[in-house]
Structure formats: structure tokens, C-alpha cells
Symmetry: C2
Subunit: 402 residues, 2 copies
């Protein structure tokens, strides 16, 4: 099997490295060797051990009948879209780590792949090296999936961990993440939630078999989370985590991206102890209950490992398979504000009597620095917003997960 890698950045070069490093095992599992015949990149790599494999013209790859798999690790949408489409139309399977492209155009690519009996695979697009797409689609096939909740962005989880453990401010923790290469110079896609939004859209789309559009997902990042929020959470036995969440009801999904308070103390929530750059994806099925997948959600080799897993799967089973796909559809979502949960509310202390009237009985209440914090009974967000509108002095509120 000959492979072409388009985009020789962090993940693309990781794919090359793994195919070299684990060559023997991969060949054994595939029943044949898997070689990189081309690498497409606009940059030059003069010191690369195989300089002859680099090309700048995608046409070379497209017209070579030996190339059965194209690895798209370019990122972005514009060129990646065209290359992916042409490759699939030429009957070449495309394996990608590009969550933006999968979330936006996956439904088109599945149709093309089906028509040309090849595949469009994207295990690496969510959760880095953690196997989650396949287990979700296949191993849990016996279940009606009730919800998928994930810490699926390592950058923000690292920042929130620094804030929790070291009492750092958001800005200081972000700077540190940038120094370590965990956050990009422009961290917007991570810290404002767009990255999580794409990933949870992909997971929700697989479960439904219908496209969930990012535009229909209310998305809130962590830029406004303060050390006070984090300390309040800790004092109540929780930590602030950025969650992507999809709840399924009657063939539709209520999907959201927002910071929430997740139980870390005794009887912790399974996502409560996911720290640093690690990711965790919690799936609830009507028969299996709670199942969680955990590991490094980003990084060169973990993500490339998921890409190579898709390559091996393709060699073993080259035919199109319905189960990892979804179709364009209307009305696939409902407003996640309808979903009920407990809420943690921080208020000015003076507002306590009004808050008690509107929201008691509380499950937790404490006072810190002239503020009160409490956990409400379970209710919808619409309901709590209505009740809070009657009181002044709300500083922050977050959903509670236990």
C-alpha cells in the first residue's frame, strides 16, 4: 500500500515517523507493507532522509494509481477541501486529523466516498490518540446513546489545571501553555471553544447519523474564568472544566460548549480527575451505563497514532462502511438550555434573601470575600435564568456535574 501525506506539519511528520518506526508491526497487522510514496508541502525539507518523496503538485499524487490512501494533515478548509474531494473522487481513501473540515464538510465527503467505494476516516479528529470514534460507532452499537460529554481540548484543560493547582490567573496560565507549545500564539480557537465545538459536533453527528452543525451549538470558552471561580469550585469539591456535551432525545441532540463545575472530591465524576493536557470522553448508553475513554488528546505522536490506526483499518477493510458517517439534515438539534441540572451560583452576599426565595433549597452554601456561593436544585437553564432575573447581584453561574 502506497500512502501520500499532504501537509508535513506536526501530525503529518508524526505519521511518517510512525510508519517508519513501527514498520514491522504495521506490516504484520496489514498483511502487506505500507510506504509513504509522496509528501506534499509548500515548504522545503532539504535535510529530510528521503528528499525525493516531496512534491509540490497535488496532481502527481492524484494521478498515481499506486496511491491508495491520502493522509490529509494540512488543517484549514480551503485547500484541504479541494484535495480531499479530488482524492475521494479518484477512489482514494482519505484519512484526516482535520476536525474543522470533518465538522463542516464530512457529510459531503461520505457521499463521495460511498459513490467511489473508498473511505473518509477521521479517528484522529477527536481525542487525539484516544480511540473514541470507533468505540462510539461500533462497540456501543447495542446501546441507545443518551449523552456524550467530553474534556476534548488539552490546551484549556492545561490552563484550568494550572489555575486550580497553582492559583494562577487565566492570563498567566495561558502564557505558560504558550511557552510549552500547548497553546498557539493566537489561542482563540482553543480558549473560546471553537475547537471543542467542532469535536462535539463530530461526536453528536456520529451518534445521530445526521449532521449537527457548529452554528447550532451555543459555545462559551474559558476566557472569563477567574481564579475566584476556580477557588469557589474547589471549596465545594469541584473543579472548573471546559465541557463539550451532547444529550440525545427523540432523534435530536442538545449540544453545548461551556465551562462547568465537575465533582472532583469523594464520589468524583469520571471527568473530575482528568488533568493537564489529558482528554476524557464520557459516553452514557441506556444499557452499558457510563463508559469513559481517556488519554492524550493532542500532540504529534498520539494524534498521528490515530491516523495510522485508520490507515491500518483501511488496508484491512478498504470498502466503504456506513457506520462512521452522517448525512446532511435539518432540525437535528434542540436548545440545550432545556436540559436540567443543578447550578452553582455566585452572588453578592446582600442578595442572599432574594436568592433563597427564588432558588432554595440549596445543596451547598458558603461565604467568601463578601460573596455567597450555592448549588441549586436541578432545573433547566431557561428556568434558572427566569428565576435569577428577579434577583440582583449574580456574579457567575455554571452547570454542576456529579
Amino acid at each position: 500500500m502506497k500512502v501520500a501525506i499532504i501537509g508535513y506539519g506536526v501530525v503529518g511528520s508524526g505519521v511518517y515517523d510512525i510508519l517508519k518506526e513501527n514498520r514491522g508491526g504495521i506490516e504484520r497487522r496489514c498483511g502487506q507493507s505500507v510506504d509513504v510514496k509522496y509528501v506534499l508541502d509548500i515548504r522545503d525539507f532539504p535535510d529530510h532522509p528521503e528528499p525525493d518523496i516531496f512534491v509540490k503538485d497535488f496532481g502527481v499524487i492524484l494521478s498515481d494509481p499506486e496511491v491508495g490512501i491520502v493522509v490529509e494533515t494540512m488543517g484549514g478548509v480551503r485547500f484541504a477541501y479541494d484535495y480531499t474531494k479530488s482524492a475521494l473522487e479518484a477512489g482514494k481513501t482519505v484519512v484526516t486529523s482535520n476536525k474543522e473540515l470533518v465538522a463542516r464538510h464530512g457529510h459531503e465527503f461520505f457521499e463521495i466516498a460511498k459513490k467511489h467505494n473508498c473511505r473518509y476516516l477521521f479517528e484522529a479528529s477527536v481525542g487525539g490518540g484516544i480511540p473514541v470514534i470507533r468505540p462510539l460507532a461500533r462497540c456501543l452499537a447495542a446501546n441507545e446513546i443518551e449523552s456524550v460529554t467530553g474534556i476534548i481540548n488539552g490546551t484549556t484543560n492545561y490552563i484550568l489545571t494550572k489555575m486550580y493547582r497553582d492559583g494562577q490567573s487565566f492570563d498567566a496560565a495561558l502564557s505558560r501553555a504558550q511557552e510549552l507549545g500547548y497553546a498557539e500564539k493566537d489561542p482563540a480557537a482553543d480558549v473560546d471553544g471553537a475547537d471543542v465545538c467542532r469535536k462535539i459536533a463530530i461526536l453528536a453527528s456520529i451518534v445521530l447519523g445526521k449532521r449537527v452543525n457548529c452554528a447550532d451549538i451555543p459555545t462559551k470558552g474559558i476566557r472569563n474564568i477567574t481564579t475566584a471561580d476556580v477557588e469557589w469550585a474547589e471549596s465545594a469539591g469541584f473543579a472548573v472544566k471546559l465541557l463539550g456535551r451532547a444529550v440525545f432525545r427523540d432523534g435530536r441532540a442538545g449540544v453545548s460548549v461551556e465551562p462547568a463545575m465537575v465533582r472532583t472530591a469523594e464520589d468524583a465524576h469520571p471527568l473530575g480527575n482528568i488533568w493537564d493536557v489529558y482528554n476524557g470522553i464520557l459516553v452514557e448508553g441506556n444499557m452499558v451505563g457510563r463508559v469513559m475513554f481517556y488519554g492524550r488528546g493532542a500532540g504529534k505522536l498520539p494524534t498521528a497514532s490515530a491516523v495510522v490506526g485508520d490507515i491500518v483499518d483501511t488496508v484491512r477493510q478498504p470498502d466503504y462502511g456506513e457506520e462512521f458517517s452522517w448525512a446532511e439534515a435539518e432540525g437535528t438539534t434542540f436548545d440545550p438550555a432545556e436540559l436540567e441540572s443543578e447550578f452553582f451560583v455566585r452572588m453578592k452576599k446582600t442578595a442572599l434573601p432574594a436568592a433563597e426565595k427564588a432558588l432554595a433549597p440549596f445543596k451547598f452554601i458558603a461565604e467568601r470575600n463578601g460573596e455567597i456561593g450555592f448549588i441549586t436544585p436541578a432545573m433547566s437553564e431557561a428556568e434558572i435564568n427566569k428565576r435569577l432575573s428577579e434577583t440582583d447581584g449574580v456574579i457567575n453561574k455554571m452547570r454542576v456535574y456529579r
Copy 2:
């Protein structure tokens, strides 16, 4: 697709229930309906809603060409072996939750299944409803697996959790587990480690592609764990967990079953926060790093959910697939005593000078009730046994996982 269930106990009846309850979704995912045509059990179920499906003669199932899948949820080896063998020879796929049979005779069944182009599937045999067999075999195909470490027995994890949280003795915690139905009247298979041994043998066999025999796995249960052990662990920031572990080197596996001290405090080990009846399976790959799978490792519906997942997979892809199998082989294991780790040692206080001479520098040392406890530098078990043989007063020692 017509299915026969042999053995209508907890798991078998769960399979029946899921095929009814989630009928619509399963039919959609399979592209056809899946019906239970026969149930074989020696008992009578006069109040069952479908009394006509019950049979007492396996010949009825075997000779019915409509039956494509036999679900073996009988447990035990004697009858289950014969039925499984005849079903596979008749070209019927067998899906099982019977870890004892898989561990002992899996290699024979894979050969028969290959010859008759059907399958022998066993996702439910390890980790109940947690998808672990498939992710291990397939999604991590890009990696050389370095180790698999699991809390894979819910009963013992429940007992150890009770001892840790409530300070109960082993006997009291076991009684409570029996009251709740988590432990059997004769708890030997769970508390003495045989169940974990079968499961880790299965996981190790998949990774190697060669059979790891339970007889080659040194197996220690938790019957001798005392509240003092558990309290010592807690005071050092650890908990005692029963671990099945396989480490892979040069095509062989060092496999063990033993209680160990797993880090729960800050910078916890991923298995440190698996409590109650939950299971966790940690896989280390040379590219992906640490990945963990978590969920309910036992129970009617979670386990049945894994069986039904295998049924759906069979309907979609009925042909034999090499990747979930292993062959009989010699010399597949090495002695896990060769593996290096830190050790926690409890001793009489009077032995401290000798212990320091033999084992220092210590990473942790404390005194409780006239005893000392300490954590040694990393070394092999053979080495620590040699060094400890020169000192008196050793009360207990356990491997340390962080």
C-alpha cells in the same frame, strides 16, 4: 438474523432484554432485524413472555440453518466447550462472555472459526460493557503495545474500596459485597485472582497474537490484605488495588496478578481513581502513550451490551477476521519478577537500620504503631527479595504504581 442464546442466566437474559428494548436502533445499525429464535437452558421459565423459544436440546439449534449466531452465556467449560465447537463447525458465529473458556480454548476456536469462515467473538469477556478488545486490537494498530494494566474485577475493587473508605475489614467488606450480589457465595474466583488471571491472559494473548496460558501467570489475590495495609497505603497517598498486568518485551509477555499500591493523591495514576465496582484498563503504546478505558466491568446489562455489540458487528461483517485471535505457542511469557518498579515495604520498626542498609534511599518513610513503611528505589522483584532476605521483620511488600 436469527440468534440462539445458550444459558439464560444474568447475562443471557440481559442479551434477550437488550435485543427487545433497543430493537429499533439495532435493526437500523444492522440493516436487518435480529431475533432470538431459541433459548437453551436446563431450567424452566414458565412465566416468560415467549415460552416457545425455550429448548433443552442443543441439536435443535445446531440443525437449524436459520440460526447464524449462537450466544454462549452458560459459563463453565464442559458443556460450553462442546456447544461452542459444534456451533463453529456448523459455520455459526459464537459470541461469548465466558472468559474461562476464551482463555483456555480460544486458540482452538479461532482455528475452527477460520476454517468454517465464521467468528468467535468475546468482547464481553473482559471489562463487561467497556469496549476494550476492539480498541486494543484495532484502533491501537499503529502502536507497539508496551503494557496493559487493569482493574478488571469489580468485586475485589468494591471490597478494596469499602476497606479504604469505611475502614472495614476484608471479611466485613466481602460480606457486604455478597449481600449486594457483587460477590458470589463462594468468592474464591474473584478474591483469589483467578478471574483477573483469565482476563489479563486474554488481553495479553491479543497483543501478542500468541496464547498466554493462565498456568504461566503468578496470581495473588486480596484475601490477605488487611486494614493496616490499606491505611498505610492511604497515608502515603496510594490505594491498594488488585491489578492484572502484562508487560511486553521482544515478543513475550511478563504477566502478573497481584495487589499493588496505586497513586491516588496529587498526580494520581490513571487507575488510582477507579472505585467501587468500576473497572479501568490502561494501555501504554509506544506512540500514543497512556490510554485508559473505564466503565462498569460487570453486571447484567453492561455485559450483555458488549455481547449485543458483537452480534451487531457479526451481522455487519460476518467473515472471519484475524485481528481478534491468537495461536497456541510455546515460550510466550517471561517471569514478571524481572520487571522493575518501586516497592512499598512494611517492617517492624526494629528492622529499620538493616532496611536502610539494604534498600535506601527511600522516597517515603513513616512510622505507625511500631512499624515503619517506606518506598524503595525501582528494582526488580528478584532484587528486592534478595535484599530483603538479609533483613528480618518484613510484614508486607507491594509494587508501587504512579
